[in-house]
Symmetry: D2
Subunit: 333 residues, 4 copies
């Protein structure tokens, strides 16, 4: 089989397409023929900054078909289409350090491969009406957006701000609309805002034209502020998020697109009685709840572009440029 590994050192130059033997599923394991994968900003950081021990196969997110099952496997059968869980051992309940250490695409070999061998507990069946590429966007980006909104108890009628038009933000937009919320989308591009509107966004803010977007959110919400902000961590966004959130509102912190530390006015946190929740993906149970919501509401993940498997590197370059809208996928088979 073919797979792409990060070898020797961090950096896009060190992604190598190699051949390995197809693994065999042991007891409780399954062999998956991978069909598609997708890229996350986390993958870009992992590959360019070398966070995990090398070599490893990048990409947490994919979709495949069960090719063979090992002894004692009952959760799935050959022919089932599945997605691997981002955290292979976080099945349900609270996160714990040892569960969070089981992520694919580092430290565990990920989806940039023709075949994967995983525990039967590490995969879930996925909605039929989605393409392989669409399924491949769910395990990290989809689940992160879902969990952020759900853990904050999103209710119909509330207002959600999504920042930019990356994968998590677009999922948050779609999930929030399915749940009956009002969505305010921000972007530096009017063209992207137009696409966000087509997906249901109720209010649009071009933060290049309106750098103080928090004030605009206050205006749109009649002074109240947003009930919920999905904070992807763009440069300086956190401080404005604190200003844009209603008293007792929620900020889901899901990323560091704009840098690793930010100078935070602490008084805004307690003055606003804010709930700030760090979200790193989620459990298999959450994933399955999300898939049900996707099926019931016929939500179609937005795949901006699909590249062939072998052009993974080009995908990473695209992601770096931040010119995409939604997700970048790779076709494996």
């Amino acid at each position: 089989m073919k797979c792409i590994v990060l070898e020797g050192a961090a950096g896009l130059d060190n992604l190598k397409l190699i051949e390995r033997d197809i693994p065999r599923p042991g007891p409780g394991q399954i062999l998956i023929r991978m069909k598609a994968a997708s890229l996350n900003y986390r993958d870009l950081i992992n590959v360019t900054m070398g966070i995990y021990k090398l070599p490893f196969i990048p990409l947490s997110d994919g979709c495949g078909v069960v090719e063979e099952i090992g002894e004692g496997v009952t959760r799935v059968k050959a022919g089932d289409r599945v997605a691997p869980s981002f955290f292979q051992t976080w099945l349900s309940g609270r996160p714990e350090a040892h569960l969070l250490g089981s992520s694919l695409g580092g430290p565990i070999d990920g989806c940039l491969t023709e075949y994967m061998c995983l525990s039967q507990d590490g995969v879930s069946k996925v909605p039929d009406f989605l393409t392989d590429e669409q399924v491949a966007t769910l395990p990290c980006a989809g689940l992160t957006a879902w969990r952020g909104l759900m853990e904050a108890g999103l209710k119909a009628g509330e207002t959600v701000v999504v920042q930019g038009t990356g994968g998590v933000s677009i999922f948050a937009l779609q999930f929030a609309k399915a749940a009956g919320a009002t969505v305010i989308a921000t972007s530096s591009s009017d063209e992207k805002l137009a696409r966000a509107k087509a997906l249901g966004a109720d209010h649009l803010i071009n933060y290049k034209a309106t750098p103080e977007w928090a004030k605009e959110v206050r205006k749109i919400t009649g002074g109240l502020g947003a009930d919920h902000i999905v904070e992807v961590g763009g440069a300086g966004t956190f401080v404005q998020s604190l200003q844009a959130t209603r008293i007792d509102g929620h900020i889901s912190v899901i990323g560091v697109v704009g840098g690793f530390t930010q100078d935070i006015p602490i008084a805004a946190i307690f003055g606003g009685n804010l709930h700030i929740k760090g979200i790193s993906v989620g459990s298999r149970a959450m994933f399955e709840d999300m898939c049900r919501a996707i099926a019931v509401n016929r939500i179609e993940p937005v795949v901006d572009r699909t590249l062939p498997f072998a052009e993974a590197r080009a995908g990473f370059e695209l992601m770096k440029g931040q010119g995409h809208f939604g997700k970048i996928a790779l076709k494996i088979a």
Copy 2:
């Protein structure tokens, strides 16, 4: 002004249309010119069984326009369209005995009147796009359905069972759909089920044709059971609700349409790890959250029939017959 009071003794025969002086708003109070009212099953019980001290003006639910404001009133101004709160003093937070004693239509004079004088704290502004009659259905029936679903943390993708096609059940159907849920509706009439379908119900069960509706719910949900049942208390429904609910699922108990006591298999409660929550309407804060969700999702309350104010008695007779679908309203002005 004209109003209808229950005088002398319980019973529909004792509803009397009388004249009273228009009250004047004291400090912190407002005078409301009533435009519409609506009937609830609770009103029927109050009038026919005489639960509160006589005489009183029946009906908790209405809609009117602020005609005059007393000294110090700031929450509303003359000309604002408002709905009175079911519980006049339950503004927010947990219910408490003394707050629950402040209900309109008994013990406090209700909406079957041309003018009402209430505390400014006892009303809320309402969505513009609704008719007066539609607004008049919200304070009890709408809010009960809303709170039942929200307190159980309804999430997109979950399955909700609504029983019959009375006011609360139809609101629950509409709110559940707005929140991205799957809805199973039950009724003894195929015609009513067809109307439920037109409102978005995903699955229909005629419980005359299929008396063991709980089994049908299990079948529809692939064996899992419903995440949530809005239990209106029809004869024998509670026991089937216990059977139809998924492990760790929710039953919102909101009424006693079918009788005041039921023989309950206790083991089903703990075997199922069920959450059973008694819901008696809700607070003003919940009402305002609901109104926001109604506005965002353009939800139109279903008014089955509107009668003139003076024909309130005919409305009660209609309700008794249980032939209605959604709400019965009265036009006052």
Copy 3:
């Protein structure tokens, strides 16, 4: 090894002490040398009513020492003292039907044995300062009480009613006191009430002398009612529990000591805005949280009496008589 099985038919007469080969731990499994076990009312029902397929080894609750570990075992090592989980596969998160089917003492062979072979995932380490018999009371009775109080969000200062002096009730008393609550204990025996007082109960009600104990609870709480009732299901207790609970209060339904169905006034549920939660034991994560609370607060489970392993039948007879206070244990080794 020796073990006691229920064979042929339900009934205490069919408990047989037999010999079997000591099992060997497979991959991921551990062999436990059992030291003690304890009896629950559920075990009595299982044995006398034959709920599970025969033959099986009764008793869900025990304590033992790891004797040998299978390949790949990392959670425990030989020499560790552990308690098996009541539900062998419910590790964390929500209960699900398939997890709740994994209970010990039926359908899975239980603790009335000298040796058990279990998955490493099916046991937890236990606090050092407890005796083997004390540990053996935790998996079902302790955890049921713990989960009931915790899921209802028990807070310091709240009032908890515990009914009678069986295992779960005494644990609820001890956990509630550790959490800073006021405890009202009921019993038909002044002597038992005196023992409850010695364990920290703040108020005592002899329900023989005061059959309307709900009224007494109202009086003690200044009219408010109890925040929380741990409902063990004694004859007719449910109806009084509904009356004794404060508006918006909690009833944890954990058993059926007094019969399998009860006639319930539905209006009391919604009039009181009550939360009724069915509790069937809990997950391993909850068990480990409970053990931590036991260790921090030095809570000693109350063992009423310890009988030799071979006299299990006498233990069941004792339980039937309901004369015990706290738990009945068996010494195995």
Copy 4:
């Protein structure tokens, strides 16, 4: 009557002892003869930085006896001992901007006065066994600590870190112990740590001797981290709090003792799946729950020192020096 006002400009020099007429209670109001008050760090900031419009009477926290009631007052009667609510209009439910604007000691005249006239809704009765000075410590410092722990769902057995030995921290220590938690206290003074130990602290960290106190918390908790940190905002504490908290743990942000902004590693928030909750005091309902917990558990607020009313300025100087342990009180009558 005598009262102390901040006049002309911010600064301790501008606190003036003046005479004013005793106010008269209007309808729904009560006149309170103040007995004691206490100082909070917030008061020091208000007075020295001039956050509110001048002149105003400082201090949010006090205790007094109802001297006279206005027309229609039913919540209290003459002779009742009460504490004013920090937020006069936040009775229950969620915080909202307009409720949070009703704080005493700025913008509304506070407790540094012999008499206050407040709405009957703005006070609560208080536990009998406390001294006036002890009661005077509850409205802000006590309630902040209580709400922080309760909103995070503190459970018996969990570990709480309290930072330093100011008022909120000592209350958090006492409430956490009453709730069955383990407490780790930090301070720069071994003498203060000894006093914390006497109040029940289980583990002590002198952060002068052990500047990396987060590592020490990890060690004490066997690597897990603390379940809960009450973050008072000392210089640089926030970053260590992020490191000391367990995965999925809670940080209650209650103050800015160490400065108004901090440079925060965003990745630690989502990597840790942390819950960060801003806490600004609480509602009257929370206050009354807290008082009940204080009464049930006989918790005695720690008053470090009591000065005469007229020496308020000296109290502020003491607070500035941060040499106190627990609360600084003023005796008014």
